[in-house]
């Protein structure tokens, strides 16, 4: 049984990784490090956003997520894959996986101003170039 579970999880990972490559990697680059001053570094911005109230929803509502061609289920898997692979949040205590129902609920709520929202959420935690403040 354990074997079956791990195989299923692995297949899901492969799908999520392929979806990351097709829908996200073009800008966020293969290791999630982005492009300084232009594309946020997922390795630092994901944990920062997940540490503040509203950040979890923001990650679903940013145009790259909400407007992607991915279904709610696959968007949930892709976001979970990104958090598990680009950040130190490995356990369920540190990060609770997104579910399809959660995505369906928060995805349609449009952000009026993406940059202003981001700044209100984590502006105080990072430097001008997007790095975590010391």
């Amino acid at each position: 049984m354990a074997c079956v579970v791990s195989e299923t999880a692995h297949a899901g990972d492969a799908r999520a990784h392929a979806d990351y490559m097709i829908h996200c990697q073009g800008c966020h680059v293969p290791d999630g490090s982005g492009l300084e001053g232009k594309v946020p570094d997922l390795r630092t911005s994901l944990p920062m956003l997940l540490s503040v109230e509203g950040g979890r929803a923001f990650l679903v509502q940013v145009p790259g997520s909400s407007m992607s061609a991915l279904s709610d289920t696959r968007l949930a898997s892709t976001l979970n894959w990104m958090v598990r692979n680009f950040t130190g949040l490995k356990t369920d205590q540190q990060f609770r996986d997104y579910t399809e129902a959660e995505i369906e609920n928060i995805r349609p709520q449009r952000l009026e101003d993406v940059f202003a929202t981001r700044n209100a959420l984590i502006g105080h935690l990072e430097t001008d170039d997007g790095r975590p403040a010391e």
């Binding site: 799908r15 392929a18 490559m21 990697q25 492009l35 594309v39 061609a69």
Partner: protein, 170 residues
Amino acid sequence: MTWFDTFFEKTSRTAARLSSRRSVVGGIGALAAGAAVFPLLPVSRVRGEEVANDPGDPSSCDYWRYCAIDGYLCSCCGGTHTACPPGTIMSPVTWVGTCLNPGDNKHYIISYNDCCGKSGCGRCGCVRNEGDKPMYLPQAANNINWCAGGSADIIYNCSTAIIVGVDDGA
């Protein structure tokens, strides 16, 4: 064991006669410096994968990897389908699509990294656009000049087609 001893005695004596101690130290120093500098050479760090069965001509627009391309083929411009021509820089941000390889009937994830920094190559223009979306879905539109994100800025020269993964549809 005599021949063994003689052989090494001879080679050691010849080496000692032909080289000074300083030259050996210098040689080791040059090797160490060279080894340290080699990884800094300006080559693209994009990780490309190759496939065993890769039919077709990479300098022809019909080549399977170009199914979603919109641009000049680098393989006609002094580069290859995976490397930029001399004097250009590969943009780190890119348009990604999937193409079916007729050689093994698998869908591969292709990264169309643009080469930037010299004016448009003008040879082998190739527009196929499979899976291309309108500009209001910018992350899936190939009409964007992806050079805008790179250090060479927006001067577009040509496009590559690098395999970054397999999309098995699971």
